[in-house]
């Protein structure tokens, strides 16, 4: 039995929060993605497959909606609205996500939801949270990363601030949305009442700059982009024979570093007793970084990581997706998840973040085709006659 089995979650088609539903679906919750009849926006976003139907081509959709059931409904119509309420009465939780502080068209807001259904746990992810002067401001991933403070720290000092790639602002907001809803459900266990759980995308991003906050509070330092000129010892990204290697040294790495340098005949300068003083190391960190670069330059990324890690140093290859797909660590652990792509081929997705008692919880299905579960949910579960469903479909309601 999967850990969240028996939990029913209705997810509104909010682009910013889909990953929250995916996490809950991986853990065994039944997540029902409710899309408008023309499909959620994510279905039109690149990367796109060349040869599949227009509504199913998006690999964003394949990733973000993996494991969910899919129904269609236009809640802006009276019939659609009535049907939505019938569905919500069967749900434990509802996920709402918005890019402008409002609700998806036709959807009731969090307060109306908890008022109408007192047991419902409502998770609301908005760009800036539900209160405060910017509550109705809009944000895309890039804008949220700027507002939350990560962009000002990312990249090189002589470039503009940069975002963290792969929509990490949205992923972080969604991770907090999943956590919030689970915490809300735990609250319901204690109070017997539903609750609104609120997540701000800006604050979710701000949570990823926690160390930097304290630089201003305790030292009055405004932090900027440091590129590769980190203040810390041995933090470099070095070119190697076939790519890049990232290194990071902490104080107890010193002897391991010198021994590694010795292997390449580069240890001589570091044998001077002055290097025993951490302050001296810090003042002359350029020499340490240069030695690490020289060591990496003679090795492949994999060799550098293996040799460095054998000396217990923090050395890691810089991977792109092709390397990830064939990394023996991930492959032998059975990490990846095979799903059927909409064009019929087999696609690979990342697996689960967790193993529970050795087993990664996995969803039972891939991302839904548009309206895939309409009959199953509207007719078989909620008792709608098939003719009624056909009529609603004809009227553009489902």
């Amino acid at each position: 039995m999967r850990p969240l089995e028996g939990l029913r979650v209705v997810e509104a088609p909010g682009r910013h929060g889909h990953y929250a539903g995916r996490l809950l679906a991986q853990l065994g919750a039944e997540v029902l993605l409710v899309e408008p009849p023309w499909g959620a926006a994510v279905r039109r976003e690149p990367p796109l497959l060349a040869t599949a139907s227009a509504r199913d081509r998006s690999l964003q959709h394949l990733h973000l909606n993996d494991g969910k059931r899919g129904v269609t409904l236009d809640p802006a119509t009276a019939d659609g609205r009535a049907l939505l309420w019938r569905l919500l009465r069967t749900a434990d939780a509802c996920l709402l996500a918005s890019s402008d502080g409002g609700m998806p068209p036709g959807w009731p807001g969090p307060d109306e939801l908890t008022e109408m259904q007192r047991l419902l746990v409502v998770g609301a992810l908005t760009p800036f949270g539900r209160t405060g002067p910017k509550a109705r401001w809009r944000a895309t991933d890039l804008v949220a990363q700027a507002a939350g403070g990560i962009a000002a720290l990312t990249g090189f000092p002589d470039d503009p601030p940069a975002r963290v790639g792969g929509e990490q602002g949205l992923h972080m907001g969604s991770i907090h949305l999943a956590g919030a809803v689970l915490a809300g459900l735990a609250t319901r266990e204690r109070t017997g009442r539903g609750i609104v759980c609120e997540v701000s995308l800006q604050e979710s991003v701000a949570a990823s700059v926690q160390p930097d906050i304290m630089f201003w509070d305790l030292r009055g330092e405004v932090r900027g982009r440091y590129g590769e000129e980190s203040a810390a010892l041995g933090v470099t990204v070095s070119r190697c024979l076939d790519g890049w290697v990232a290194t990071y040294l902490v104080p107890w790495h010193w002897d391991g570093f010198v021994a590694w340098a010795a292997e390449d005949g580069l240890a001589e300068p570091f044998l001077d007793p002055r290097w025993q003083d951490p302050a001296f190391r810090q003042e002359n960190k350029g020499q340490v970084d240069d030695a690490l670069r020289a060591i990496c330059a003679r090795r492949t990324a994999e060799q550098a990581a293996r040799d460095g890690q054998a000396r217990r140093l923090f050395v890691f290859p810089v991977h792109g997706p092709e390397q990830l797909l064939r990394d023996p660590q991930l492959v032998t652990r059975g990490y990846f998840r095979a799903v059927r792509a909409p064009d019929g081929r087999q696609a690979t997705l990342p697996g689960s973040p967790w193993r529970m008692n050795g087993e990664p919880p996995r969803p039972e299905r891939g991302a839904p085709r548009l309206g895939q579960d309409n009959v199953g949910v509207w007719c078989e579960e909620l008792g709608l006659a098939r003719e009624t469903l056909a009529a609603l479909a004809g009227a553009g309601v489902v």
Binding site: L49, H171, G179, A246, P350
Partner: protein
């Protein structure tokens, strides 16, 4: 306010260090859990002596880096290398409902603090283990945290200027939300399952695997041979303009994105009078993409003449997503929205006085969440934990101090 905190009474043993484990446990503390952070001078969390530390401060309690991840916790100082210290840790293993750790694989087993051993006497315990790459597999011995994980897991490949080194996201980026947050999702899920089964669970969150999870589209595209660019700075294949542009002031910047032609028209109203704003060849995404570089330069020249906050407000008013690139200073002192929401908390630290702390990463409406108490001093709660949580008598506590186990 003042509704029920969901985790009041939950007993958490935090044996982790650095960031991912401590941040996960911190959120449980924000929502009511009693969290005992185990520390020792014999194995000091190096964050305790890492900057940011106030100028001139000497000691183990001045690091904002450490303090921010450990607010609301109790610090128990105990040397697990000492037999009496290890015995205490095992008693805490029987006391705890949740144990969070990020030792290298095998370390807990050696101490008899692994899930298998603990769950024999404490079947409800939930152990969260966060090794760098996993407890088995060819990289099982790998050590490291966010600094290296961002590289190996693909985030550096996705981030920044394509013509420069892939330095990736700043610092230990994956630790704070991606790994701490997904660990938290796992813990609350296991607590829910425990209600039904009476059994706890061993949750392994390999930091590498957890971070690859958020690169899904790139993985899927590579598996199907769909072309996809890696690093592309702030650009977007389906939006234009989409970037971070200079505004008035030293190192001041504004992010703005135009995803639809409606938003483009709205931007044009704010930039009324600019030649590009009225140029019909930019009216569609295709047209804007065709002259993207020219357009980006023209927009940067325009934004550069404006003050960031005012321009962001005007763009938002018109319906264009925009915001200044907040610095750490802006977040704490200059963003009126965050101030109105009270995201950051001021808590009085025993040695540093009033300091700002991150609030909880989400809010349960009507529930007054933490953090309520500043980070503990190293070992500041040792006697309290032994006496009040483990029920150890004063004589035995004194003997433990004398034995050297509490260092």
């Amino acid at each position: 306010m003042g509704g029920a905190l969901p985790f009041t009474g939950l007993r958490v043993l935090d044996l982790s260090w650095f960031a991912a484990g401590p941040v996960c446990a911190k959120v449980l503390a924000d929502y009511g859990a009693t969290v005992v952070r185990v520390e020792s001078l014999a194995r000091l969390d190096s964050l305790r002596v890492n900057n940011p530390i106030p100028e001139g401060y000497e000691g183990y309690n001045g690091s904002g880096y450490f303090n921010n991840f450990n607010s609301n916790k109790l610090s128990l100082q105990v040397d697990l290398g000492h037999p009496a210290g290890l015995d205490l840790a095992r008693r805490l293993g029987r006391w705890a409902e949740v144990l969070v750790e990020n030792f290298a694989p095998g370390v807990l087993h050696r101490w008899g603090l692994d899930y298998e051993t603990l769950s024999r006497e404490n079947p409800g315990i939930i152990v969260v283990s966060a090794p760098a790459c996993g407890s088995e597999g060819p990289r099982r011995e790998y050590r490291g945290f966010g600094f290296g994980i961002k590289a190996i897991a693909g985030l550096s490949w996705l981030t920044g200027n394509p013509s420069r080194k892939p330095v990736g996201p700043p610092g230990a980026f994956p630790d704070f939300v991606i790994n701490a947050g997904q660990a938290l999702v796992g813990v609350i899920t296991a607590l829910r399952a425990r209600e039904r089964t009476g059994r706890g669970c061993l949750i392994e969150l390999a930091q590498y695997e957890s971070t690859v999870c958020v690169t899904g589209p790139a993985i899927a595209a590579a598996s199907l041979g769909v072309p996809r660019r890696g690093r592309m700075m702030n650009g977007s294949p389906w939006a234009c303009p989409h970037g971070i542009y200079p505004v008035r002031g030293a190192d001041r910047w504004l992010a703005l994105t135009v995803t639809t032609d409606t938003e483009w028209a709205a931007l044009g109203r704010v930039a009324f009078g600019e030649p590009w704003a009225a140029d019909p060849s930019f009216a569609t995404l295709l047209g804007r993409k065709r002259h993207e570089d020219d357009l980006e330069r023209a927009i940067a020249a325009w934004t550069g003449r404006h003050e960031g906050e005012a321009l962001a407000a005007a763009l938002q008013e018109a319906g264009v997503p925009a915001h200044v690139a907040n610095t750490n200073r802006d977040l704490l002192d200059d963003d009126p929205h965050l101030q109105a929401r009270g995201y950051y908390r001021t808590l009085v630290h025993e040695e540093l006085g009033p300091c700002r702390y991150d609030g909880a990463p989400f809010r349960l409406e009507g529930v007054a969440h933490g953090p309520f108490r500043a980070a503990p001093l190293l070992g500041g709660d040792t006697d309290t934990v032994l006496r009040d949580l483990l029920g150890i008598g004063e004589d035995e506590i004194e003997a433990l101090h004398a034995s050297g186990a509490l260092q």
